[in-house]
Symmetry: C2
Subunit: 339 residues, 2 copies
DNA sequence: TTGAAAGCGCTAACAC
DNA sequence: GTGTTAGCGCTTTCAA
């Protein structure tokens, strides 16, 4: 008496019902071409009738594939979790591609140093075919560690390791977007353009600041820089410092919309009209940017594309193919009322 | 010549090095007590030396455990993805508990009807020990299907199925929170209290509206209801209708902060002072609520707790224990300037 | 307390 | 084109 809850049909069961061997059933189930249509049909019928679903553990044990990909997210991921749309967007992009490839997504949240170790351990078990690393901070050892153990890895954003073997990465053209923003400001006649930059241990923070410096230098102007950490609060604090130290500024490029929203509030409190007195441009095209006061001119990055591309690349790597060391997706200036 | 990338040490390898049998190594690795300290040490040393990590597929094949839990999220999950903090918050709560239990999280995004089927199929493969269902819409057949196949299931929010076997669920005290909000309004002398409700095919939408109706009825007042879908835009549209149809209102309870933010904008545009002319209370305590104009009085739900509790319950279920049919977590009124 | 041995359900040579 | 067979690495009786 088999309890359907605990004892599911196996290849053997299907084989008997279809009157063929296990191997043949396996071939049909795995879509091998070398099977007579008649037999194929018989097997399909038996599979259908029994509600057969392959046991992934057994399959994985012998095939050494797991058909799943891990996404590792450092939990205090300011960027991931502060921008309201970033994380869900990336996730949906990844999900879409993995679904198309019939792979599963294993989410690994790394909160503490202890979880870092736990994750490494888990990945050593080879329970996934590849790893996507998101939102790295500083010179995170993760990519190098994983590559050392032969694990296919792709990172979101250029890894900051120096010297170590770098994992292939996907990123957006931060600097290009910022240049477009600053040039827009300059073209409209702004002459004292400051920036509120992001944290300098994250590639997004670094590159956006670099883009600003480039554009300012190219215009023969002076850089005016305050650093925030991508949160609204830090944007407010930075804007206050800017107003104190450089009251003459007439424009500011802010490295994230959340910080820009904070900056907007401070400017309002300080009685500076935006964009009349001070023009403001943000980065991210976060939902909040459309509803700030005034609506924020910002730089949009193709979030969904980033997710899709990340997934495509790991899958390629996991399949043993070569991939580009770097893939840079374009950004786009979205002009609204604030500049 | 073994390539360390492809051929990892097995129980056998460890056993030979430690001079014991595979069974003994297995016992040590799985923390069995019935092993001599001397032997235990020898095995631990061998494990350490070889960097042995058990092969989960092999383990799962025989033990029939997978040590992983699935989180199923319907992708057009308005609530999950519109409130900036909800999804990440739940995720962190779940992640924390699973980490403590050394389980993995498999994320299943259900975008289309096709993915619904794919997910069912996947879960039939018993690749996870339990399932958490998030943000169901309408009478979603998922919980019943999963329970029918003997899968441990817990849902976030009371399932809306009628008659069918209901999965145990975790939810917050929506109605209680709303009652507190409406009573706060009434206590401050408001006499025409309207509501902008959420979608009526989601439990959060339904219960929050029910709480409003209760409180209004208890006060012997008339319900004034507009329906939104939890997005800012729908909140704006609903507020406009309210202003048109019931210009005399002096307060409105809005079923989500995002909608409330929209309502605030419309009120501002209409020249109605908040809270002077119209008091506004939201729900969710979303990040945006602290920064709206004016800051929003709202109902806070313990998001992180929800996540943790969801995880705790599936784990319990997966371990074969009984769990409560329903767990309702408290909500709390957060008073800010808008009411 | 420890070891030997029997599988878990599947894939992949290899033979026919 | 199809079947036979040998494991994949592990847990778990059952004996000793």
């Amino acid at each position: 008496m088999r309890d359907p809850r605990t004892s599911r049909p196996t290849l053997e069961t299907v084989a008997r019902l279809a009157g063929v061997s296990r191997a043949t059933v396996s071939r049909v189930v795995n879509g091998s071409t070398a099977v007579t249509p008649r037999v194929q049909e018989a097997v399909d019928r038996a599979v259908e009738q029994l509600g057969y679903v392959p046991n992934p553990a057994a399959r994985s044990l012998v095939s050494r594939r797991t058909d799943s990909i891990a996404l590792v997210v450092p939990e205090p991921a300011t960027r991931m979790f502060s921008d309201d749309a970033f994380f869900p967007g990336i996730l949906r992009g990844i999900g879409q591609e993995l679904e198309a490839a019939d792979k599963q997504l294993v989410l690994l949240l790394a909160s503490t140093p202890a979880s870092h170790e736990r994750i490494t351990r888990y990945l050593r078990g080879r329970t996934v075919d590849g790893v996507i690393l998101a939102s790295l901070h500083g010179a995170d050892p993760f990519p190098t560690e994983l590559m050392a153990m032969g694990m296919p890895v792709v990172t979101s954003g250029r890894p900051l390791g120096r010297g170590a073997a770098l994992a292939p990465y996907i990123d957006v053209d931060h600097a290009g977007g910022v240049r477009a923003a600053v040039e827009h400001l300059l073209a409209r006649g702004r002459t004292r353009v400051a920036t509120i930059a992001g944290p300098q241990d994250m590639i997004a923070g670094i590159e956006r600041l670099a883009g600003y410096r480039d554009a300012i230098a190219a215009a023969g102007m002076r850089s005016i820089v305050e650093i925030g950490d991508f949160t609204r609060e830090s944007g407010m604090a930075a804007m206050r410092r800017l107003l104190d130290d450089e009251p003459g500024i007439d424009a500011v490029f802010v490295a994230s919309d959340l910080m820009a929203d904070g900056a907007l509030r401070v400017l309002r409190q300080a009685g500076r009209a935006v964009p009349g007195d001070v023009a403001v441009i943000g980065f991210d095209d976060a939902a909040t940017s459309r509803y700030s006061e005034p609506p924020l001119t910002t730089v949009r990055q193709p979030i969904h594309e980033i997710g899709r591309t990340l997934a495509q690349q790991v899958l390629r790597l996991a399949a043993g193919d070569e991939v580009d060391d770097a893939l840079i997706l374009p950004t786009e200036l979205i002009v609204r009322e604030s500049a």
